[in-house]
C-alpha cells in the first residue's frame, strides 16, 4: 500500500494546554474520524491511526510549534492545504494547524537527529504588595537570571529525586524591558533548553529556580510557551 506522510505543525494554546499528551493522542484519533480521510492504521492487536507525535509537551505549557506525522493512504483526494483546513475544523478550540507538508521517513529521522534545543518564553505577571514592590521583584528575578552563567550546577528536586538542570540551560535572558502595571509588574523571559538523545528537562524546572527568592511572597500568574524547536 502506498502511503504519504504529512507533517502537520500546530499550536496548542488556551485552556486546552491543561490536557495531557495522552489526551492529545486520543483527540487526534477521534478527530481522524471526523476528518473522513483514508488514514493508515498500525498493525497491532488494537489498530490505531498511524501517527507519530512530537515528544510530549508538559502539562500546562502552551506551544506555538508542535508537530505530528500522519500517515495517509495514497492518493489523497484533497490538497495538503485543504487537509490542513479540515484539521482546523475537526479539532477543538485551542488547536491551530498553521502548516502541513509532505515528508518522508528519512526526512523525519534527519530532523529528529538535528534537534538540539527548544526555545521557551515565560510571561510572568506579579501583584506588588506594600512589602514587595515592582523593583524588588524585578531585581530578584533578574539576579537569578544573571547568576545562571556562573553556576556550576543547579539542583532541582522532583519526585524526591535531585537533578542538575544546569547542563540543559543553553540560554536564558530577559525579553524586552520589565514593565510596571497598575498594582503589579510584568517580566518576560526566554530560555533555550537542550534536547539531546531524547533527553530534556521540563521548562518549569528553570522557572522554579528563577522564582526561588520570591515564591510564596507575592501572587503571580504565568504562561510558559514553547516557541520554537531548534534544529
Amino acid at each position: 500500500m502506498e502511503e504519504i506522510i504529512l507533517q502537520v505543525w500546530y499550536k496548542k494554546k488556551g485552556i486546552i494546554k491543561y490536557t495531557s499528551h495522552r489526551d492529545l493522542i486520543n483527540t487526534f484519533y477521534i478527530a481522524m474520524g471526523r476528518l473522513a480521510l483514508p488514514v493508515v492504521y498500525t498493525e497491532g492487536f488494537s489498530k490505531k491511526p498511524k501517527i507519530a507525535f512530537a515528544p510530549p509537551l508538559p502539562l500546562g505549557v502552551a506551544s506555538n510549534c508542535e508537530f505530528a506525522n500522519i500517515h495517509f493512504k495514497k492518493p489523497l483526494k484533497l490538497t495538503i492545504d485543504e487537509i490542513r483546513e479540515k484539521l482546523n475544523r475537526s479539532f477543538p478550540d485551542g488547536y491551530e494547524f498553521y502548516e502541513a507538508k509532505e515528508t518522508t521517513g528519512a526526512e523525519i529521522r534527519e530532523m529528529m537527529a538535528k534537534i538540539y534545543g527548544v526555545k521557551y518564553s515565560y510571561k510572568l505577571e506579579f501583584e506588588t504588595t506594600a512589602e514587595i514592590d515592582a523593583g524588588r521583584i524585578t531585581s530578584a528575578v533578574l539576579s537569578r537570571v544573571a547568576s545562571i552563567s556562573s553556576e556550576k550546577e543547579i539542583i532541582v528536586s522532583h519526585n524526591e529525586k535531585n537533578k542538575d538542570i544546569r547542563p540543559y540551560i543553553l540560554e536564558c535572558g530577559v525579553s524586552g524591558k520589565p514593565s510596571e502595571t497598575n498594582g503589579g509588574c510584568e517580566i518576560e523571559l526566554s530560555a533555550v533548553i537542550a534536547f539531546k538523545d531524547m533527553s530534556t528537562i521540563r521548562p518549569q524546572f528553570l522557572f522554579d529556580y528563577l522564582l526561588a527568592d520570591i515564591r510564596g511572597k507575592v501572587l503571580f500568574t504565568y504562561d510558559i510557551i514553547k516557541e520554537k524547536i531548534l534544529y
Binding site: 483527540t27 477521534i30 481522524m32 474520524g33 471526523r34 483514508p38 493512504k73
Partner: protein, 569 residues
Amino acid sequence: MLSFPDTYDIGMSNHAMKIIYEMLDTAPGVIVDRAYIPGDDYARLSKELSCPLTSLNYRLPALEFDVIGFTLEYELNFSNVLYFLDLACIPLLSADRREGHPIIISGGSACVNPEPMADFIDVFFIGDGEPMVPEIVAAVKNSREKGLSRAETIAELSRIEGAYVPAFYEPVFDGFSQTGVNIKKAGAPVKATMREAKDLDACFHPTHFPVPNFETIFNRGMVEIARGCKHACRFCQAGFIYRPYRERSLGVIKNIIREVFLNTGYSEFTLSSLSATDHANLREIIDYVAGLNKSGEEFSETLFSVSLPSQRISTFSVELARALSTNRKSGLTFAPEAGSQLMRDRINKNVTGEDLFATAGAAIDAGYRLIKLYFMIGLPYETDDDLREMASLVSKVMDIAREKRAKTFAINVTFSTFIPKPHTPFQWAAQTGEDEIKRRQSLLKEELKRFRSVTMKFTNYRVSALESAFARGSRLLGKVLLAAHKLGCRFDAWDDKLKSGLWERAFSESGIDMKNYISRPFSTDEILPWQIVDTGVATAYLKTEYLKAASAELTEKCDPARCKRCGVC
C-alpha cells in the same frame, strides 16, 4: 442547566444527559449548559473565594438558570445533589427556595422512588424524558411570558404527565412505616404516572453530542438500539420500570450510526440496551458497522468496531461472537447472576449452565481470551450449595478453555450484593446482613482461589447497604441526607470516598434505624413509599412474581402482541 451529580469524567458520557442536552440545545429560545461536581481542590477554593458553582461552557453561575435538572440514576449520587446545591449557593431544601431561585427538577431511574429526595427536588419527571422535555420547555416559557411566580410555574410543570411535585403530598407515618399519603394540593393526581415514549423511532437520538478532550468513562459512540427488556428477571429494576420492550428499527439505527460517526468521529460504537442480543436486527447492525469501511464513501477504510454492554447468554450465538471479533476485540460480559439452576429459576433468569458453556466455548473459538462474569449474592432463598455451584460454573468455563488450549484465557468475576429494588417482585424482600454476606464472599474466595487466572471482585457491603436504604427509603430519609451532607458525606459511589462511619452517625442523629430499610422484609400488604409512582406494572402482578420466585416457577418473556399480564400494555 443539566447536571449529572458526579465528576465530569463519570457524568460526561451519560446517555440521558446527551439526549436532553441536544434536545434543549436545538430548541429555539433555550440556553442550555451542563455542570458536574468539581474535584475537592476546586470545591474548596470556590468556597474560600465565594465563587458559586458555574456551568461548564458559558461559565454562568448555576443560580442564574431558570431550571436546573439533575439526572439521578443511582441512589449513591443523592448526597452529591445536596453538595452541588451547596456549592451553587442554592438553598438545599425545596421549602426554603424563594422567588428568583432556579426550579430544581430531576429525572432518571432512581426517581422511581422519589421519596428520599422529596425534600430537595421541586419537581420530579418520572419516565422517558423525550416526550416530557418539549412540554417542560413550553411550560417554563409560557410561565415567563405570563409573568407567573415560581410557585405558579411549578404548578404549571405539575400538569405534565410524569411530573411529581413532592410538596403537593404529605406522607403519613406510624413510626417508620408509611401508612398513607395526604394530598395537600387540590387537583393533584393520586399517583404520579410514569411517562412512556411509545415509539422509539420517533424519539430523539443525539448525534451531535460533545466529545471530551480528556479521558472519560465510556468514551465511545453510544447508540441506543432498544429500551426496556423482554425478560423479567425478578431482581432487575430496569426490566420492570422500562416496560414495554421497544426497539429502534434497523434503518433508523443505521442513520444514527452514520451521523454519530460523521459528527463526532467516534468509530467505536456501543450498542446500548438492557439486552442487546434480543434486538431482532442485531446481526444486521453489526454487519452494517463492519461494512462501513467498504462502503465506498469518503470515510471508507476507517476501522470501525462494535461493543455490546452485556450479552444475554441464552441468545448469544457463535455467529455473533465471530461477527464481533472481525473488528477490534472488546471484552465479552455475561451475567449468569446465580449459580444453580434452581436459583436462576427463582430469579427468572432464563438461562442454563449449558448455555453458558456453549457461549464461552464459542467466544474462545472466536479468539476471545477474557470473559467477564457477573454474579449476585444474597438473593432470596440462596443457600451455600447455590454459591458452590457458582464456583463450579466458573471452574467449568476454565476447563473448556483448557480443552481448547486457550492458555492465556482469563475470567474476571464480579460478585455483587443483591439489593431489593422498588417496583420489582423482590421489592418486599430483605437484604442479607453484613456478616452473612461476608461469610458467603469468603466461601466463594475459598472455592475459587486455586485459579490463578480468575480475578474476583466483590462489591463493598457498606455501599450496597446504603444503596438499599435509599432505594427503598421513605421521605423520612430526607433528614438523614441533610445530616450526612452537613457531616461531609459526598461521592458515596466512590469506594475511597464513602464514609460509612459518618453515614451511621447521620442515621443515628436523625433517629432512624437504617436496618428498617435494609434487612426488614416488607409486608406485601403494607403501603410502600414508592407506590406514589405508578410504573404501569400492577402490584398484583409483582406479588404473583414474588410468589413464583418461592416456587421457582418461570415466567415467559414479554410479548406485547399476546401478553397482557403485567398491566403495561
